[in-house]
Symmetry: C2
Subunit: 455 residues, 2 copies
């Protein structure tokens, strides 16, 4: 048997054990937004790396600790895995079919908060490493892990961490925290991530809520102030009105458009899955939709809170109102500049009373689609998935890839276990077991091939 | 001793007993918006009336039951008390210094949800009746009670009730559910109430929340749709943009302006009590502020809900968003017309996707400031409070007074135990015990004088 078929057999034979290990990790809540279970989860992850013979460190930051691991392999070249052990908040709890922190197998899927984003990816990589160690007795190349605990809140402490430890984190290539297949089960290669600027906007107009019969026509109302302020940020034509917001937006290149052109149509898939009647700006699909979803910046209201929200009516004039708002950024926008534009915009529109609390952000960043490591990863997928990966110039999501690209000077690829129905950030988050196995097989192949290539 | 001084002594000597009875009633939650404890409270109120020799009825409606009581007195003339046994929701619970349904005495005040609005008024009236019965052996005139359980949700079933039972509810004058003193401790006579049209506006754009990195630039966002729709209802200049909204608004009469002119300045009191920095439309006080607060219609956002509202950040694109909105109406607006204007407005501004749920309403109504019963009530206050009542042409609040004025053809006065710091509809609702006693003394005098007057 070849190396790869022995490794594949190992993975097929040990799937249950790996899913058990993943379930134990998912039982442990680790909600960074709520500072829930972070330290405990970091210790679990460190233990899991140690078990595989990695030299580990559990490094404190101003927020959640970062867990690192290194194990030398045959080739002196190093692959760096970036993962995160924190998860999104599980709310709204009532929409989960099984409890979010009680991993449950149903219909060939494992359901749990964080099972896809990102614990399943982390454990599937350890699973591939188990197979390589079992079948080869060593790793084909050096492997390094950086597993942080604040990705879901914008990785506020990762920049100083990476900058401080850059010397200890040297690597030749990086495999990103996520990856997976599209709605046709074709594996996809995301070559960039949008940036993020996440803020809370809040207004306080009085020291207490007031009976609306008293205050309605004479007192300022925090909810109205917030609505009027938000309304100035983006108009129903989807244009974002911050001063200079679009100045640094780079349009897609010719190569980007070529790659977008090769991508399959997802419009019907989106309509069906999410019950969307129509897309914004009368888009119907095609390259237009693909460019919009990943290469245009956004301004999204993620949440609104004010006054009475219970059943029935309460005639109250709210003293406080707030909104969670995220801006997705594209090269060469930066969260720092958008934050300044936002303050300037609110002030110039008469909303000095609207407070901005910065809750985290990232710069956008991309990897060259023609880098040799990208080629290796894209082509090695064919044996597992029946075809090479589909290349996607940018993902709509965000993450701290710019830190790695700019500080560690590594190309970044995606390879993993995700699928479009994984419900990341939503109730009933899940992974498909068949894709979990394929993801591990692909990771094992990447390490094997990378170790065999000439340095 | 005169009748009144014997009655006053009785009330002073029995204050503790009455406060105990009030506390028991406040311990029983009766939140109409949440359908919590309504039937139980209706039975308690009926018992309290029976104990005073009233013939009672507990009459079912399509919503909460109405409790009625009648006891004949010396004079054949009948005074009708309108009260309600339901209360506002207690939320936000964390802002209460003592639990809302655990009545607590502090600093000469009794704190509990509903203690001022409206259970304290009801029990203080029974207290006055106890004193009259104890000292006179009979009531000076007929007394009728109508105590409903849906005032706090806009009295949706009171209209058919009053119309159906109009023959059994005959009366010559009506004392309204509330009343009390202003910030100088001067008793005030409210001669009218604004109307109300309370709605929930809601939008649904998808069958589930979506990761904001995926949907932000291509999927409709329920929170944005709601913000844009709300923004069209009222502009920051406080102008309400429903078609024809102001057409039926009657401006204050010459007599109204005379009465407003006699009213004290409350601007500083409002600023201090509520921590308001400035009033809307640059108003600073005077007749302008008084007219605005009671004789102008309003559009108030009472609550906003959408997406993630927990701590920190969650990058989610909400599928659902809703707002609670109340319109206060003035003669001759009606809730039915405003509801039609609202649908027409949303449709014509492209917001057919915004659903309207009508949560209750009232027409506005007023009593003639020169009616003889108004004079009796205003002047009889002098012995208790040291001066006659201040007459206020309209209150900013709402209630079903129009039903009584139009169907039962009675003048309506206010007389009660309220004070400006009572925190009605807010945390730490309270009554002052000194004003509780004064309110009972005033009510006893009104009944006594009304019984003595020629029919």
């Amino acid at each position: 048997m070849t190396h790869t078929s022995r490794i594949d057999h190992y993975l097929e034979d040990h799937l249950d054990q790996s899913i058990s290990e993943l379930s134990r990790l998912c039982e442990q809540p680790s909600v960074s937004a709520q500072n829930w279970g972070i330290e405990e989860t970091a210790r679990m992850v460190e233990k899991m790396l140690k078990k595989r013979g990695f030299e580990t460190q559990n490094i404190p930051t101003d927020g959640a600790p970062v867990v690192t691991g290194f194990r030398a392999g045959k080739s002196p070249r190093t692959i760096l895995f970036y993962n995160h052990y924190d998860v999104q908040p599980p709310e709204p709890l009532e929409l989960w079919e099984s409890p979010p922190f009680q991993p449950t197998l149903r219909d060939g899927k494992l359901f749990a908060r964080g099972v896809s984003d990102d614990k399943g990816h982390l454990v599937s990589r350890l699973f591939a490493i188990d197979a390589l160690l079992a079948e080869l007795g060593e790793l084909p190349c050096n492997v390094r892990f950086v597993v942080e605990g604040e990705e879901e809140v914008g990785s506020p402490n990762l920049k100083p961490f990476i900058e401080k430890h850059a010397g200890d984190l040297s690597a030749d290539a990086c495999i990103w925290e996520f990856g997976g297949v599209d709605h046709r089960d074709v594996p996809v290669q995301y070559l960039g991530l949008r940036g993020l600027c996440y803020v809370e906007l809040s207004v306080e107009t009085a020291n207490q809520d007031v009976h609306s019969g008293l205050g309605g026509s004479i007192f300022p109302n925090a909810a109205w102030r917030l609505v009027w302020a938000l309304n100035t940020l983006k108009s129903p034509d989807e244009i974002i009105h911050l001063p200079g917001f679009y100045d640094k937006v780079r349009p897609p290149s010719k190569r980007d458009l070529e790659l977008f052109e090769l991508m399959p149509e997802t419009a019907d898939e989106y309509r069906g899955r999410y019950g969307i009647k129509q897309f914004l700006k009368s888009m119907t699909g095609g390259v237009e939709l693909r460019v919009a979803e990943s290469m245009m910046p956004t301004c999204t209201i993620c949440g609104l809170t004010s006054g009475y929200q219970g059943p029935g009516s309460k005639t109250v004039l709210p003293a406080r109102a707030s909104a969670k708002v995220d801006f997705r950024l594209v090269p060469d926008q930066t969260p720092e500049e958008v934050l300044e534009q936002l303050r300037q915009h609110l002030d110039s529109h008469g909303f000095q009373d609207v407070q901005i609390t910065y809750l985290g952000g990232e710069a956008p960043a991309r990897t060259d689609p023609d880098h040799p490591f990208v080629k290796l990863v894209v082509e090695s997928a064919a044996e597992v998935y029946g075809q090479p990966m589909q290349m996607i110039p940018m993902s709509g999501g965000s993450g701290p890839n710019h830190l790695f690209i700019e500080t560690l000077h590594v190309p970044i690829v995606t390879a993993g276990i995700g699928h479009p129905g994984s419900q990341a950030h939503a109730p009933n988050e899940n992974i498909r077991l068949d894709l979990y196995l394929k993801g591990a097989k692909h990771i094992a192949r990447i390490l094997l091939l990378y170790g065999q290539e000439k340095v």
